[in-house]
Amino acid sequence: MSTGLLDPGVVRPTALARANPVAKLAVALVLAFGLLLSVDIVTAGTAVVLELALLPLAGLGALAVLRRSAVLLLAAVPVAVVSALLGVDSGAVLVDLGPISVTSGSLQTGGAIGLRVVAIALPGVVLLATTDPTDLADALAQVLHLPARFVLGALAAFRVVDVLLDEWRQLGLARRARGLGGDGLLASARDVAGRAFVLLVIAVRRAAVLATAMEARGFGAGEHQGADRTWARPSRLRPGDVVVVLVGVAVTVVSTAAGVAAGTWELVIT
């Protein structure tokens, strides 16, 4: 499926890129829950280093990886700064401005929080970029056995992304032709809000038509009669997928072990 916004660009077919989407999802989830347990700079730092070392296996071009992962800093840096400024103080005082103070302790936790955000978000970015929505839907329904009607309904809706983007542009042109909108922050915000509402109306109307069309082709039939659905694209776990999941588990275990060995690992929820 090729949609403009969802197109990952050129993906080299490495073992990681070709892995079953469910395996990629498992890797991202294992890393997320493993790393969320503790806030410490050693665990998060080790995880980020290991992930960066594994990046070339993702199958994306260097430029694509850089563009997609650099944007993570936009979220991670403010979180780290707030934690360093307002966090619980300990250790030597570096900067003191009344209620806001930076100590070596709070600087370290700030760094740990920021690194942790990157460590959890990064695999998701890279793995999502190499995942085709169709493959994802096939895997979710056949491997995880999620309800097929919902998975396929969502997949059908993904194809509407391009249509909605087109509608968005046309709405802008139509509003301009009618003399709506204008310059200035407030006017453009109101303009965007108006377009967003009409976009929602169009989306719901289109969905009702789409539902009728899908039902006319037998979608959702036999759901309660025990009929088994057959699949055009079989999706199953292969030995390579197990390896991918094990690598994800290994990254989590090694970083946690590094944190424990350094004595900084500490369970955050007590």
Partner: protein, 267 residues
Amino acid sequence: MSTTEKSDAPSTPRRRPAGIGATLVTAVIVVALAALVWQGPTWFSEDGVPGAAQPGPAVLTLVLGALALVGWRTAPRRSWRVVDIVVASVLGVAVGLLFTLFNLAWNPISGLLGGFAFLGAVLTGPWLLGGVVGGLVIRRPGAAVFVELVAAVVSALIGNQWGFFTVIYGLVQGLGAEVVLAVLLYRQWGLTAGLLAGLGAGAAFGVLENLVSNAALPTGFQLTYLALAAVVSGAITAGLGGWALTRALARTGALAPLASGRNAQRV
């Protein structure tokens, strides 16, 4: 034709054991959560010292959890028609595109007001809309989670600054709204339901954000963050905004095939 309401009597002749299993698992989780609250987690006390027992909040957790489970099992419209599924999916995708719009706008906003630490708590409302609008428009059990999750997946697949976190947050925020609608037994869809569902989504976001981003900050900050997220982003922006949006959508007639459009039509 798909858009006419079929009989809402449960069309499943045999009870699916999977549903009962999930209910039992959820019941166990609720009891465990109530027990945890009774123990008095460090959140209720100052400076991380385990607090005294909290029987009041624990009983409240238990009652709300039981109500949510009863709501889930006895919802008046348990089965989804094809039109419900497809409208919920497309609504999720459209909301996901709006999320992307806010994702892009977020960086200049947070750059301008970067010194204000509670920024996220006050301005997260737009990202909570999926659960409220989804629940109020579709009016089926699971609609809030489904719409918010689809929207989050679209936002993550397009690519944003939060990466895989987007999916986790979407799931948790959707669950926050869903639990509230379940506690209301899936029978309330008015302004109150919208406000409370928004409150639930905002509180869920606040708890998750405290675990992820604010984990190193003082307890007082975290509690203020949670309260602001639940009331300002949740109840006011997402709750009131989501309810108004749903009503405006119904007025256009676009929701006519759905449960929410049927009693909103002016004759």
